[in-house]
Structure formats: C-alpha cells, structure tokens
C-alpha cells in the first residue's frame, strides 16, 4: 500500500499536488489518532457533568475559577488539558455551554500550560530544565488566565 502510494507520487511532477495529497493523508491519520483520546475524554466529561461528582467539584473549585472570571464547570476543561493536550481541552469544552469569552479564557490558560507529561519530556530531550519550565508555565498560565479572564471582553 505504502509502496503503491510512493510509486504513484513519483509520477506526479507538481510539488503542490504532492503536498496536497500528503497533507490530506496525514490530516486523516492524525485525526484518527487524536480522536482515540478526544472521544474518551469527551464521554468521561459528559458522564462527570451529569454525575453527583459535578456539584461537589463546582463547590470546591468555584472560588478558584472566580479568579479567572470563569464559571465553576470550567475546572473540568482546565484540568483535562493539564494531563491530555489542547485536543482534550476542546473535547472537554464541547461538553458544556460556554460563552466565547469563557472559551477564550480557558483556551489561553490551557495553551500556556498543557500536556505536561509529554512536553516535559520534550524539554528534557532538548536539554532544558523541565522542572523550572513547569513552574514557569504554571505561573504564566495563572497570570495569562487572570489577564484574559478580566480583560478578554475588551479584545473580543
């Protein structure tokens, strides 16, 4: 299969066309790979949302989420992002009805700090102190979250 595709590609002389074909294939492959994580995250988030755990989570985290001007349910998305990745955040976000400003705040917090296990490994691989960068990202995520949470409305 792979060989056939390579032969087929060798016959095409347009670099743009090859890029289009490779891109489409890679896009489909990556989508399948990501969905294997996103769908379970989404299903678990919907379960949590309707379970008795949710009111309890909301009680505990509503003061923390208030710092970011977010509703307490947002904690589910924010925490999913630490352990999975941006795609986990999006899957978790889609379990709730958030406004554009709220989604933007969650996005900015999680874009600053996400997939801690994977990205710490990357940091170590290129010789950066993973622990220091972890601390740096936590601080930045909090600062960015507060900033966008309270000023985001101006920017939208």
């Amino acid at each position: 299969m792979k060989e056939k595709y390579a032969n087929f590609k060798a016959g095409i002389h347009s670099r743009l066309l090859v890029a289009l074909m490779d891109g489409t294939l890679k896009g489909l492959k990556t989508a399948v790979m990501l969905l294997k994580i996103m769908i379970p995250v989404y299903l678990i988030v919907v379960l949590i949302k309707y379970s008795p755990v949710m009111p309890w989570l909301q009680d505990i985290f509503s003061p923390v989420m208030k710092i970011f001007n977010l509703p307490s349910e947002a904690v589910v998305a924010v925490v999913s992002g630490f352990f999975t990745d941006e795609y986990g955040v999006v899957a978790a976000l889609s379990g709730f009805d958030f406004t554009m400003a709220e989604i933007t705040t969650v996005a900015m917090i999680n874009l600053t700090m996400h997939s801690i296990p994977v990205e710490s490994a990357i940091a170590r691989k290129i010789g950066l102190p993973a622990g220091k960068f972890f601390a740096f990202r936590v601080c930045m995520a909090v600062l960015v979250g507060i900033m966008i949470g309270w000023m985001g409305g101006v920017l939208l």
Binding site: T104, I126, F133, I148
Partner: protein, 155 residues
C-alpha cells in the same frame, strides 16, 4: 445522575459526531498547509526576515529559525529543528533558555488558532495576543538576572 440515561446517551452520540467532524475540519487543512509550508520553505524565508528581532529578545540570529518553526508549526517540529541545529553548531545556554521561554508559552499557532477557532474561542486572542504575550515575556526574561548570569558563566 441529574439527567435520564436516554438524554445522556443522546448527547454523547451527537457530541461525538460533531467532535469527529470538527476535528477533520481542523486536521486536514492544517496538514495540507503544513506540507505546503515545508515544500516551499516558507518558515525559513520568514525567519530570515525576522532575524532583526533576535537582538531585542536577547537571542542569537541562529535561534530564530527553530523558534519560528516551533511557534508556527508546533513544539515537536521546533524541538526537532533545534536538535538538528545543535548537532551542527551548539546554540548557547542563554539562547536555549529564551527559546524555551517563548516556545513553551506559544507554539503551533496555526494548529491552535484553527482548533480553538472552531471550538468557539476568539482567534485573534489565541493567536495574536498569545504571540505578543510570549514576545513580551521573552524580552523581559532576557533582561532578568537569571538569564544574564547564564551569559557570564559561558564567557
């Protein structure tokens, strides 16, 4: 459970289908764009134009290309590029730390811009504002004691 299982399963099914569709809407154009950028060495050309910013960010000009790769295409592409560059000509400790500061605050802007755009976030905030924040933080970091000490150690 605060809803009947009927409602919950219905929501799970609808939500899963829209997750699949939304992801395809992001991944296929994203990968095509990434391939096109690589085919025509767009990032390399862009990095040449932006090398002037290296001074303000306290980096050497060589660090700008891997940084741009990471910021535009994603952290694993950036890490790959920086390893390749280090294998030829080691970047300084200071360059590496500042690269880390920028890249861990902001990477893969095309990918995340599209992903969170479809998820309902403000595309301008998640791309431009994030880029600007990472730039400002890097400029400030370059002037802190910790980063400047790295330079002294090396001399």
């Amino acid at each position: 459970m605060s809803e009947s299982w009927d409602v919950i399963f219905r929501e799970m099914l609808d939500g899963s289908i829209s997750t699949v569709l939304n992801l395809l809407k992001v991944m296929v154009p994203l990968m095509i764009l990434t391939e096109v950028l690589m085919t025509y060495n767009v990032v390399e050309k862009l990095a040449k134009k932006l090398e002037g910013l290296a001074g303000i960010m306290g980096m050497s000009r060589n660090a700008i290309f891997p940084l741009m790769v990471g910021v535009i295409m994603g952290v694993s592409y950036g890490a790959g590029t920086i390893m390749e560059i280090n294998s030829r000509n080691n970047l300084s400790k200071k360059d590496m730390m500042l690269f880390g500061v920028f890249i861990f605050m902001c990477h893969g802007i095309i990918e995340t811009g599209m992903l969170f755009g479809i998820a309902g976030a403000s595309v301008i905030v998640v791309t431009l504002v994030r880029l600007l924040l990472a730039f400002v933080v890097t400029v400030i970091a370059a002037r802190t004691r910790w980063i400047r000490n790295l330079e002294k150690q090396q001399q």
